[in-house]
């Protein structure tokens, strides 16, 4: 039998980008928290290296055992057998979770992202909404989330330049962003001749090219050093603690309050509930032993696939189809972000982008969101375009050949000798919407070593995203040519889009209507009132930017709501 532990106020499942943030405001409010995390503390000396094979080829920071055992399966239709999805940097088990190894691009979503249905209908008519899409307005506006974006930017530390300071537009920042109450806590990461080349190419086209916002210190911040620009940030951890993962920011602060107990290397297997439909705590396995951690409130904050899987696995009398799933919404509205670096360019000169960080970049937002007139284009939304530093040698050697050389032999050697340091890709991130034909459930064949089914992704073809992407690819080419590129290579994605993603969202969507959403506007279940859900899984549409800062702002807001309504929620 499971060992029964002493009850706590809040059990948090997963101590990553979202769970690692929510514990700080809760601990400061004096609530006693048990955080249960499947990974452990990573050691900057042992676990983080300036080594492409370690980080990117073998993915030894991210490819931790639990993740490898739970790779979701994938199919494009319900009548097709599911196969194992391509492994990637998706889930992560460690204190700090994915914020350990992410690029740390820390964006606010655009005000438009929160009201896509209303704004599209108003400007283009209801017929402009893509067929088969289940998109809704978010149950909150940008303005309601703004104070929490601000709090998180200052608590973890984000470098960048405001483009809209309380309504005052500044072309050095993102002129399309929603109004922010104050400047970023730090200036952008270092300008370089390459970032200047790309920003000035954007200006030539009358576009707004600005620096990426990054949760990386551009100067010493709250006792942690500035970035050393060593070029092994992506899919690796920071050897200096200059990347502001929750493992070096909010979690240590929460630990200091003495209100947070961390149970590491502990895998949650079920969230339990009583006959009245309230959750009672979580069951987990640690060192081969099974434990039960009773809690007055449970906050589920693992990755998108595991959030859905744990709810579907946690069946009870009150929830025969899975916890918080009496309306059949768990797993619906799943979105794998349409992002990728599939437009590459060749320049006739060295770019020297070997060093730095992925977040040391330049971004154009003119062709994202509703920042341009879509009349007659046949799609809504668009993509942000980023070019950035941090090129690794194996990746550089595998560069596209632009029909200029064979793929091996002495001619190839000559080609890479001249050109490996002269190529760059545009990272395009598309607005991505939920569809009827794209969802998560439990696989019927593949199980993890504990005997529980893994998550199954079903992702059907789309029209809107490929059109938006093709449109923006042409803009990316214009930008690269304006900067002096002599060759362009474009490799578009399949119409089903990506399957497994490191920007995977949905499955426990947030919305006012319990018939179509799993959690309310605060992130608490419509069905189990003392169950909160955090992470990308609550988001109903994916903006044209990296999701983490929005996930973190929603986490802080959920904590704020819980503290203010503790008596009503915890009973």
């Amino acid at each position: 039998m499971a060992v029964n532990l002493k009850p706590v106020d809040v059990a948090v499942v997963g101590l990553g980008a979202a769970g690692g943030v929510v514990v700080l405001p809760l601990a400061r409010a004096g609530l006693k928290i048990a955080a249960i995390e499947a990974g452990g503390w990573l050691d900057p000396h042992k676990d983080f290296h300036a080594d492409e094979i370690f980080n990117n080829v073998r993915m030894q920071v991210t490819s931790v055992p639990k993740t490898k055992r739970e790779v979701p399966t994938f199919r494009t239709r319900a009548d097709e057998p599911a196969r194992r999805a391509a492994s990637g940097r998706t889930m992560m088990n460690a204190i700090g979770g994915t914020s350990t190894h992410y690029d740390a691009n820390s964006w606010r979503f655009a005000p438009w992202d929160f009201q896509i249905r209303t704004a599209t209908t108003r400007r283009y008519g209801a017929g402009a909404l893509p067929n088969g899409s289940t998109v809704e307005d978010w149950p909150l506006t940008y303005e309601e989330l703004e104070p929490f974006y601000d709090t998180v930017e200052y608590e973890i530390g984000v470098s960048g330049k405001a483009g809209n300071l309380a309504g005052k537009i500044d072309p050095r920042g993102n002129t399309f962003e929603g109004p922010r109450r104050r400047e970023y806590p730090m200036p952008p990461l270092r300008d370089t001749p390459f970032t200047e080349l790309m920003a000035s190419a954007a200006r030539k086209l009358n576009w707004n090219g600005h620096r990426s916002p990054a949760a990386i210190n551009s100067q010493p911040y709250r006792g942690r050093p500035e970035c050393a620009y060593h070029g092994y940030c992506d899919t690796g951890g920071c050897h200096l603690g200059a990347k502001n993962s929750t493992a070096v920011t909010t979690i240590p602060q929460a630990v200091k309050t003495k209100n947070l107990a961390i149970f590491d290397h502990a895998q949650v297997t079920r969230i339990l509930s009583d006959a009245g439909g309230r959750v009672t705590g979580v069951q987990y396995v640690r060192g081969g032993m099974e434990y039960f951690q009773p809690a007055r409130v449970v906050i589920l904050a693992s990755y998108t696939y595991e959030n859905t899987r744990l709810l579907l696995l946690s069946k009870s009398k009150a929830y025969p189809k899975g916890l918080a799933n009496n309306h059949g919404q768990v797993g619906r509205h799943y979105i794998a972000h349409w992002d990728g670096r599939d437009i590459s360019a060749l320049f006739p000169f060295d770019l020297n982008i070997w060093y730095g960080a992925l977040a040391q970049g330049v971004v154009v937002n003119n062709w994202a969101d509703d920042n341009f007139d879509h009349s007659g284009l046949g799609f809504i939304g668009g993509a942000s375009m980023t070019v950035n530093h941090e090129l690794h040698p194996i990746a550089a050697s595998a560069m596209p050949l632009f029909n200029r050389a064979p793929s091996w032999g002495s001619q190839w050697k000559k080609f890479v000798n001249q050109n490996a340091g002269r190529t760059v890709g545009v990272y395009a991130q598309c607005t991505s919407l939920p569809y009827e034909n794209t969802y998560l459930d439990l696989d019927t064949e593949v199980k993890d070593p504990l005997g529980d089914p893994v998550c199954r992704i079903t992702s059907g073809p789309k029209e809107n995203e490929p059109r938006a992407r093709a449109y923006v690819a042409a803009k990316a080419e214009e930008w690269l040519r304006a900067a002096g590129a002599i060759e362009i290579m474009n490799q578009p994605l399949a119409r089903e889009g990506p399957n497994q993603s490191w920007h995977a969202i949905g499955g426990t969507r947030m919305g006012d209507n319990p018939e179509a959403n799993v959690v309310d506007k605060w992130g608490f279940s419509h069905e189990a009132p003392n169950l909160g859900v955090l992470g990308g899984s609550v988001m109903g549409s994916h903006g044209a930017r990296n999701p983490t800062l929005t996930i973190q702002a929603l986490a802080w807001r959920a904590a704020d709501h819980l503290v203010r309504n503790w008596k009503a929620i915890a009973v």
């Binding site: 042992k46 300036a50 092994y232 895998q267 079920r270 060192g287 039960f292 009870s316 032999g409």
Partner: protein, 197 residues
């Protein structure tokens, strides 16, 4: 747990596979074990030597030890693909014998080049999955040639010199991010000066 009402019965837990410590994974990176037989290594070396040949731009992938990287990888983190890889090498040799009447490694460079080209194009008679095996071999050769010499390849920094990568540095100055002047190559492994020499 009498207050809870749930469907889970007590389950058998697979304790041994529950958590593999990260240290066990990282240790595998540095093992110098071998996965291939001397004959297989000879075939592999004869292949990588033509993929990236020695010329005025520097040493071949074989001189740089790309095949050593691949062999060690197959003995450790890439063990899952070892069987398919060994079968691929056997198919390569069978193809060489049927078309040129000699083992692949015993053929002169031009003949090896012709066989590799046929593999890449998918015109290697009787060699099923030749383009896929070519593409996997090419990818692993790039990893061996351009990865950190800690793993057995990129000897003498031949790969990094070839593509003019200036080498890992723990801190990089603004001057080292200039476009008009690349930093001088530091010819150093991320794991210390004992690797790559």
């Amino acid at each position: 747990m009498s207050e809870t009402d749930h469907e889970i019965s007590r389950r058998e837990l697979i304790v041994s596979s529950a958590f593999v410590p990260l240290a066990a994974l990282t240790a595998s990176a540095q093992n110098a074990e071998t996965a291939l037989t001397p004959a297989q290594i000879k075939t592999l070396a004869a292949f990588v030597e033509r993929l990236i040949p020695g010329d005025e731009l520097g040493p071949s992938a074989a001189e740089a030890g790309a095949h050593v990287y691949i062999d060690r990888a197959l003995a450790g983190p890439n063990a899952g693909e070892k069987q398919a890889f060994v079968e691929g090498l056997a198919s390569l040799d069978a193809f060489a014998k049927s078309s040129q009447d000699a083992a692949f490694a015993d053929l002169p460079p031009e003949k090896r080049d012709a066989l590799i080209a046929a593999m890449e194009r998918g015109t290697a008679a009787g060699f099923t999955n030749a383009p896929q095996f070519f593409s996997r071999l090419r990818r692993l050769t790039l990893e061996g040639m351009f990865g950190d010499p800690y793993y057995g390849g990129n000897r003498n920094f031949a790969g990094w010199d070839l593509i003019r990568y200036p080498g890992p540095r723990l801190a990089v100055s603004a001057d080292e991010q200039r476009m008009d002047k690349l930093p001088a190559p530091n010819r150093r492994s991320a794991y210390g000066p004992q690797y790559g020499r």
